[in-house]
């Protein structure tokens, strides 16, 4: 195979034709071009861009916006699924309080997640419009887009869009003649997955080590520099313009009865399938439909297991493919929707090795602030490495189970350790025999290669 370096370049792409994407049904992606090129200010405005800002600023109150967002029930698309409207209603404002900040979490680093990249690279004005509306609702004086350092193309696109928006008066003083002053700065990171955690992100924004903060106080009470701060994911904020333009009822209706939640979701599939990619579909679409769109598993293999929304979600089985991919449904099966991008594992791939890979990631990315996370994850990794090599000992699986409990919710400041515990616990629950094989298998020499998948 002779791939030229140019042809190996990565380009973010949506797997849906323009004909399928309509303004009425695809609020996030209907403007995107077939060629995947960046949508500049002119094209964005031609395609109803900043119409929601014109409709809302100075004509509705911030509380009206929050009310509409609560009714629309846009649930946090970064993976936690908390209603953005409710979050906004908890931001302290008024009286003698200083105006605070709205921060866009564009620190996309969840293993298996590649959705925000698309919106950032191809349609940054939609995010800016969402942040203006969010800033207006939350009485923010300023917005920051916290972008991971490796997203070079996105940084170029966002910088250019901020400049265009400022020059056109969509950012700055007295936006659209409303009397509302608001501006945005791009803040690029320097690595570390933990920066995606809301309070660690605020510490990082303040130029500190990205350790999480205790809650309460919540960021809405005291966030960046002690001011009320609201942090939302890219996709969440990108939903706001359409909600304000077309209303909460319209948004609720987008899921067409597939889910109690409203709106669409940027779903995706990665792993060994025929057609990996991203699709904007009604929230509550089944994983089976997504797998169909992805053309099924590659090379005639069978599906063994899948993660519904990133490395910190729980493993599900082929029998769960018919489930609606929404927060409440997936939450009932020992997993979480997370980011909604499926990671597919085929029958010939080792669950033990994959979990070892995941826990190595979480161990490395722990910020070291809390003991269970800092010390528990490297021990988890060591045990998994032993099992992977057929060097496990009796009691290892029980020890992993107790670690999964001790790393679980409530033991640490943030959700990093619980996120690591979920794939660990669920993989043992569903595939205990694979872990047992790491104990009963004929011992290999110390530090030998992993035992072949067929045998584990």
């Amino acid at each position: 195979m002779t791939s030229s370096p140019a042809s190996l370049r990565y380009h973010s792409q949506l797997r849906q034709s323009a004909a399928e994407r309509l303004a009425e049904t695809h609020p996030l992606t209907w403007r995107l071009r077939e060629d995947g090129a960046l949508i500049g200010l002119e094209e964005y405005v031609e395609k109803e861009g900043y119409a929601a800002v014109k409709k809302v600023l100075g004509k509705q109150s911030g509380q009206d916006v929050i009310g509409t967002m609560k009714e629309a029930n846009v649930r946090g698309r970064g993976g936690a699924g908390f209603s953005a409207g409710v979050k906004w209603s908890l931001t302290m404002q008024g009286g003698d309080l200083a105006r605070g900040y709205i921060v866009c979490n564009a620190d996309e680093m969840e293993p298996g997640t590649f959705k925000d990249r698309l919106l950032l690279e191809q349609q940054p004005h939609l995010l800016i419009e969402g942040m203006i509306l969010g800033g207006y609702a939350n009485n923010s004086c300023y917005g920051y887009i916290f972008l991971r350092g490796e997203y070079i193309e996105a940084a170029r696109a966002v910088s250019r869009a901020i400049g265009e928006a400022r020059a056109a008066g969509w950012l700055g003083k007295n936006i659209a003649g409303s009397g509302f002053d608001f501006d945005i700065a791009l803040h690029t990171g320097a690595g570390r997955y933990i920066c995606g955690e809301e309070t660690a992100l605020i510490n990082s924004l303040e130029g500190k080590r990205a350790n999480p903060r205790n809650k309460p106080p919540f960021p809405g009470q005291s966030g960046a520099w002690g001011k009320p701060t609201v942090v939302n994911n890219v996709e969440t904020l990108c939903n706001v313009p359409a909600v304000m333009q077309h209303g909460a009822k319209w948004y609720q209706g987008l899921s067409g009865g597939l889910s109690d939640d409203g709106g669409t979701k940027l779903y995706g599939v990665s792993g060994r399938v025929n057609r990996t990619g991203l699709w904007e579909l009604p929230i509550g679409t089944s994983a089976a439909e997504l797998m169909d769109r992805a053309g099924g598993v590659r090379d005639g293999r069978a599906l063994k297991t899948w993660l519904p929304g990133g490395g910190s979600t729980g493993f599900l089985l082929p029998e769960h493919l018919e489930l609606a991919l929404d927060f409440d449904t997936i939450g009932q099966y020992g997993s979480r929707l997370g980011t909604g991008l499926l990671t597919v594992v085929t029958e010939d791939q080792s669950v033990v090795s994959l979990v070892r890979n995941l826990e190595a990631f979480f161990a490395r990315e722990s910020c070291g602030w809390c003991t269970p996370c800092r010390d528990g994850l490297p021990w988890t990794l060591k045990i998994l490495q032993s099992l992977e090599r057929g060097e496990g000992e009796q009691g290892d699986i029980e020890l992993l189970e107790s670690l999964a409990t001790d790393l679980g919710p409530g033991r640490t400041f943030c959700a990093h350790a619980p996120g690591a515990a979920m794939p660990l616990e669920s993989s043992i629950r569903h595939f205990r025999h694979e872990f047992e094989a790491g104990i009963t298998h004929r011992r290999h020499a110390a530090h030998a290669d992993p035992i072949p998948v067929g045998e584990v």
Partner: protein, 174 residues
């Protein structure tokens, strides 16, 4: 496994920072960044990146220099410099290669890609080629999971990268 290979740790050997002089342009850029925030400490990470863009890494002498410009303690600048994985406190090659080692790439050929690159360059994670051309590091999920295995060379992102395309690809970076 060398997955924890990191260049963020301060190395006592690399102490050519004694004569470090902050470039005027860099000082100006740091001061401009400072104005984007309520407090100067916030510009710390960007300041480190500004120095790194010029020198390839953050020499020892840059730490007190940045601290002085921002009016914060050198310990807080060093604390930040050693925390973030993309701030290098040791010299690196002209091109830093970041190979995504997260789950989707792991399932689509990360091991084979890593082996092809380490064989081609003769270095492991955390090392720099003797000619100073490449430094090799693992990186968190690059958000290119639909085209794994993925990697970056400098500012460029690639994926999927078949192992047999590695030699040709690296030729582009002298």
């Amino acid at each position: 496994m060398n997955d924890n290979a990191s260049l963020t740790s301060h190395s006592p050997i690399a102490s050519d920072g004694d004569g470090f002089l902050l470039h005027d342009e860099d000082r100006a850029a740091i001061l401009e960044e400072r104005d984007h925030y309520e407090q100067p400490q916030a510009a710390c990470i960007e300041a480190l990146k500004i120095v790194q863009r010029r020198h390839g890494w953050v020499p020892d002498g840059a730490i007190p220099a940045i601290a002085e410009v921002l009016g914060v303690g050198p310990a807080s600048v060093e604390g930040v410099a050693t925390f973030y994985s993309l701030i290098f406190r040791q010299p690196v090659g002209r091109h830093v290669i970041l190979i995504c080692d997260s789950s989707s790439c792991f399932l689509t050929g990360f091991d084979e890609l890593r082996e092809a690159i380490t064989a081609e360059l003769g270095i492991e994670f955390g090392q720099t080629t003797p000619d100073g051309r490449f430094t090799l590091l693992p990186v968190c999920c690059l958000g290119a999971c639909d085209r794994g295995p993925a990697m970056m060379i400098g500012d460029d992102t690639f994926g999927p990268v078949p192992p047999d395309a590695v030699a040709e690809l690296l030729k582009e970076y002298s």
